[in-house]
Amino acid sequence: MKSFTIALRKTGLVAGLAFLSVPVGAAEADALPTFDTNYIAVSAGGADIKGSKAAYQARTAKARTGAAGIEDMRFDYDLKDNTTLAITGRALAGQEDYLLNFKLAKEEVGSVEVGYKTFRTFYDGAGNFFPIGNVWMPLFSRQLYVDRGQLYVQGTIALPNAPVFTFKYTHSTRDGRKDSTILGDTNLTGIPIYAGPGAVNPISATRKLLPTYVDLDEKNDAWEIGVRHKVGNTSLVASLGGNIIENRNVREMQQNIGELAVFPAPVFTVPTVNNVRAGSPRRTTMTQRHEEDGYHASASFETVIDSKLTLFGGLQYHKADVDIETSRQLTATIASATGIGQYAGGFVNTGASARAPYHLVAKGDLEFEVFTGNLGARFTPSPDLAIEAAVRTEQWEDSGKNLGNYSSQGVTLATGAVTSYASQGLHGVKNTEKPWTPTLDIRYTGIKNVALYASWEYRTAKQNEHVRYEGLNGQTKANELDLIGKNIKEKHSNATVGISWNLNPALTLRGELFTKDHENDFVGYSDVLGRDYALNFDIAGAKLTAVVKPTPTINLTSRYLVQQSKSTVFHSGLTTTGVINGSVDGSDSTRHSFSEGITWSVSKAVYVQANGTIVYDQMQTMYPWISGNAKRNFRNADNNYVTGDATVGFALDKSTDAKIQATYYRADNFDESYAAVGMPLGASAKESTISVSVRHKLSDKTVLSGKLGYFDSENTTRGGYADFSGPLACVMLTHAF
């Protein structure tokens, strides 16, 4: 049942704790009973969905099949010798949400906990919608979901007046198929493709909107043992651990579906040796394997010198070896004089800067080593003033290589002759980075009912990044031994000042100003000598909060956030034509967010809660200052939205509580007119939910809950193809033993 409340919360957030869950805190004698131990809650529920069931699953995190089983359970047993055993669990079939946990604890000895948990996340794999041609190409009938699971064993040995030992082992997995925003392209957009000698399309008909997906197969085995102990005024902590990561993720991408170009092709486009012409369907499978075997060790201390001074610090070491493999299998379907065939790669020769659509298989290894240390002091010269100063330093080194084997087939359309190409390229990296980060935090409470605080951190880093790239251009290997070196300097300053002011029990005001000034300077050497790139990113903003309690039964909280982000980019030394030397405004973005929350205890038996947030968020980069076709093809990015929810909870009779909840979400950033010259991607949607739930006490040990709700979701960005609506219903029975 909790899971169905969650469905509503996901679709726009129902205010308040899950009404039908096992609630916390109703300890008043006349409140309905709550169960925190020795209980089981079983539930069943589902929804009758009209519209896109895939979108329903992705949005609500609920299986379209419905779910039933054990929503929640906990049993505690007192064993001999001050030993307890706690068993918690969950088993929701359909939702594939499972948990089983055992915890054995003995006072003044320690505890052992063993368990397994898994849950499912859904994706809709929808790709994008294109309004001009009303294009919607959902390629997959199979459900997309990823199961995240974890098997764990952890324990503590905590004998009196002795070091505390801890250990933990986890085996985490992510397994399944999820969507991707790396979308394939199509010409079937409804935009005319002009043909014939001399014809020039006023705008490309190609849009990248075909859905793609990734098959995840990720495992992470992690272990750690630790000890902590207090010797005099010094607390010591040390740990040793390791990781084995095994990731093999496969990305599937299709392009130009159903757009096989005819042969003979129009005279004006037939080249001597061709290739994957626009309109030749392609299928690409990209696999990345990452196997990491590493370990880490750390030790830290905290010493209380006296009532005014505490020192702390630590060291950490992390080293790992990584095996990497990459493959990109690309198959092109090409029509030539000999008919329709499928070819590996399928070469296109469109110039020196083009990337050939080749097969690729690469294998290599990496290693990295990181030393980290910190040292600091907390100083409290008076009860009203606390100062903490610390510094962090790190030395990071990574290096490795990756040998790529490239192959491709070029097809001469007029004859059907195939030419094979093959080459190798060795890539490599050696990278060192040495950041220092001093920090300072100050808090002052010497003014009655006021707390003042400030914090600052300043990261400076020197980095040398040297890579070797042997890429391919056109039909031949090029850029051999292309050595690219960069000296990178960072200066990142983050600062905050704030005030918390309790004027009286009815009014609290809080304010905070924050800034980030991040300067990044990349100076090229070797083959990129003279290519300098500097990025200065500045962020400034404020958070203002007011908590007002006009009466003991009403609580109003208001929160306003404003943030301005600006970046300046300097580039010099590039040889490409165009005006590219000098500084430009990379971005000038603004975000305003206002939220209001109200809780009103109307009477002992009735309360009302309402929350709302309205956000204006615009990311502005080059649009204001570019011109001509570049401006025509581009827009600012708007990310505005409104959310809201309201809840009325009340006692219906002496044995029944009821709750009415409603939620709302609205975004309106989709600019259909942009489709003529670009790919409209702004989010526009309208969603609302309403539900009525009751919770009825059958006995002091048994509570029956039920919920009826309705949701409606309209998604303009997806052209209405991802809309869904329908009623939901669920029941839950909770019984304590």
Binding site: G12, A61, D185, K208, A362, E490, G578, S601
Partner: protein
Amino acid sequence: MTTQRTVVAPAKIAGAQFVGSKQCAQCHAEVTAGFSTASHAKLAVDGAAADGTGCESCHGAGSLHVKAGGSKGTIINPQKSPETCYQCHLDKRGQFSLPYAHAISSGKMTCTECHEPHKGKAVKGTGASLHTQAESCTECHTAQKGPFIFKHNAMKEGCTACHNPHGSVNNKMLNAPDSNLCLQCHATGSSPGMLFAGGRDHAGNPVNGTCWVAGCHEAVHGSNVSHALRF
């Protein structure tokens, strides 16, 4: 319609009164000992007007918990619900209700997986911490962790340079759905009709879609085969 029986709005403890943080420290000293260093502690104000600040701001009034000897069900455990955090972080309530957000609302994650309320910086991995902020993300997202032969230096700014971990109207919790996301840093100049990014005219590319779509810069977190961040 109603009967006069106790029903309380979350996140509250019916019938409980504030007792002050010193009471909490008697049993939970290992937790309260470091609270003075916590980001949240900066807001704590002494005095009568500050009634309810401290432990009970998040865990609810503690009188019944104290009276019951610390039994379950008499105090709020914020790890079971984000409602406690939402009381002040109203904007985060809105963000986590957006279509693309971490699984806080569904109860599969908790705020404390990325935030530390009891000691030190609230955002894990910031300040002078031995760990880094990115480690909070890559603990689960190991495929994006690297290292890579060809790095995307935006990763040095942290994952939040491109993603909003609390939620977004855009898929993958992106801060922008389109090429603006990349051009914040990669806008390098313009001639009439041109859009230079990385020293190359990309004026025709936003027509087709984002910078990271098929055939373009697909390996945005880092690549082992392409210095232009491609697969």
